[in-house]
Amino acid sequence: MTQIKVDGELIEVPDYYTLMQAAEAAGKQIPRFCFHERLSVAGNCRMCLVEVKGGPPKPQASCAMGVKDLRPGPNGEPAEIFTNTPMVKKAREGVLEFLLINHPLDCPICDQGGECDLQDQAMAFGLDSSRFTENKRIVEDKYLGPLIKTIMTRCIHCTRCVRFTTEIAGINELGLLGRGEDAQITPYIERALSSELVGNIVDLCPVGALTSRPYAFTARPWELTKTETIDVMDALGSAIRVDSRGCEVMRILPRINEDINEEWISDKTRYVWDGLKRQRLDRPYVRKGKKLVEANWDEALNLVARKIKKAGNRVGAIAGDLAGVEEMYALKKLINSVGSNNIDCRPPMSALEANMDRGVYIFNPTIAGIEESDCILIIGANPRFEASLLNVRIRKTWRAKDLPIGLVGQRVDLTYDYTHLGEDIDSVKALATGSHKFNKILKKAKKPIVIVGEGAISLAKNSKKTGRDILSMSLMIANNAGALREDWNGFGLLHNAAARVGGLDIGFVPDNGGASSLEQLELAKKGELDIIFLLGADEYDLQSLDKTFVVYIGSHGDVGAHHADVILPAAAYTEKSAIYVNSEGRVQMTKRAVFPPGEAKEDWAIIRALSARIDKILPFDNLAQLREKLYAEFPHLQNINQIKAGNISAMKKLAKIPAKTSNVLLRSPIKEYYLTNAIARASKIMAECVKARREREGANR
């Protein structure tokens, strides 16, 4: 620890600190444009200049200068820096004056107004008037995709976007060409950037050069209500902030959560908000004859209640990808109350069973734990598109240290180098028996991680056995590699849907002879199931269900609504407060930002109302009571942001190598990243992203 004096105050900081970190440790705020904690140091904006006592006559860039590089005083006194002397003030004024020379007078029409770093710093540190009387330079706008609006004249060349796309997103497409006044941020070829994280450069850009194209000209930041909530587009539960104006969600921004998404969110999370305004179910529908007709709540609920009473215990329920724990709990209680156990939240043919230990189906090492790992094996998953922020973390670790990564499955571009170990189950078997080349690397690792994709254990075309085999073999690989220890649990199952782990936690799975989702659909087709409840379940093949009475409880009119006999409109994830458990097993709660449109109600309330009509009233009247009951049965769900760890010995028991395996290719179940759930499919922005991606890939061939 070194001593350094900041503005006369003596503090002790680690000697690898930069002057900027030391100043912040002393409580002084240093303005900056190009420096960002999660990116490499560029030092080109010169806004962070501080005066170093006894240093050269020019101020030093505090983001780049290290504390240990400062010379001590003549008698050994600690080095001194100043952040509030006239020299520093003059330096800041000068930097801002230069930046504003070529900066266009766009504030009234610039989307960044109100949240612009340049505006704020010019107010705080700048001069009051300009001395510039010549013409300003202009720059042509570049096309970076349907998500980013570029007005490059406003660019101040901080290169944050270049560093982000190169280091964190892993695409080498942006660069700073030319120099001086003629410097321009350009892509190599002007087409949509190929990363799923490009929306983050909109946050990073300190001025309005890169702004969100769908959000352009719609709102000012001071009129928006900010709600801190959780994202459900994938199973990671990234922390987001929903900005809404009245009843409309205007945009979605990331929140800082060091454990999951740091400061980034994927494009799907960020731009799916316009899907919340399209294809909404806003009133109950009832099928009369062949057509769906608008109805009111009484009519719809009464009809469903009549059907339930007639059906006895031939009822089933499938929970979709976006269902929260509360509604799954309510639905489970409802279905159980009529004597049925046909409930399922898992994808078809899933190998996960009712009584499996939690450790088997959560991502045990945690996302933050990836940074401690020294070897990663990925089986049947494409983390880049299934869990983008997890991929960011793997890439971050791969950049920071020598991290061998192996992938069994389809050869894809993950933005980092990996060894492709094979495409099918035989490779998994080889790894499990220890006969694969990669086993040597696994053995040497002290904290290995084995990631199994949800697609690998639910290969729908085959029997459940294949999925089960892969699960057991993966556990065996993890065990042999030393990943199943009390001090380090390196086995992680990577889910694709936000509802999965929550449903598994509360037991929304068929046991005691209940039918799984596929089985329910089979029974329904044969006419042996009288009612089936779809809680937002749109990822299934729902053809030929005309013999069954289908009740769809969801927010968007997708596949499920089309085949439904009764539609009960529910709330989307920004419109309700619900518990979601992410892939790590971390319990998180969303917060309501806006109200559901039209006649839509919250899902648990619909189920509770239904229970009243069939005279099997569920034991709660409001959300708090529901949660009380929920916590009583599953106490770990009340610990928000905590993870209940898995049991190592239980996991070890499931590790085995089956005698015979039927060979099958491991493929990621995600066909189109931008269209994985109902809300994304309703979104026009996502459709444009698909179009841009196809154009880009068409051009590549």
Partner: protein
């Protein structure tokens, strides 16, 4: 009689007693517009005023006379040869408070559907 009472007690109909007196004493009638409002100026051409034909409403003055009234020009509209364009509509006084007042579409006082805003969601329709 009605006019006299109006002139005596209220000020929003044509003219009051004092305006009438002043007009009779000092006023020189310089012109009348298409609505019947009469325009006067005093002997020295220093002051200009109008006596309305009906409700005293400042926006009832047509544009040509408006310019003269506000001392923007000294040319009387009935002495200039301004040819209006064919797209110029006849002048109407401010309709606020009258039946012709403007209300946006979707307002209670008018029919029609409200203009679309970004917060309007597109409901799903079965087809």
């Amino acid at each position: 009689m009605k006019q006299f009472l109006a002139e005596l007690f209220i000020w929003w109909h044509k003219q009051t007693l004092s305006i009438g007196l002043r007009t009779w004493l000092k006023g020189r009638h310089v012109g009348t517009d298409e609505f019947g409002n009469k325009y006067y100026t005093d002997k020295k051409n220093k002051k200009r005023w109008v006596v309305y034909d009906g409700i005293v409403e400042a926006s009832a003055i047509p544009p040509g006379w408006h310019g003269w009234m506000h001392y923007r020009t000294d040319i009387l509209p009935n002495e200039e040869n301004y040819q209006p364009h064919k797209w110029e509509k006849p002048h109407i006084a401010n309709p606020t408070g009258t039946r012709n007042a403007y209300h946006p579409k979707g307002s209670l006082l008018r029919d029609g559907k409200r203009a679309k805003i970004s917060a309007d969601y597109e409901a799903w329709k079965p087809e």
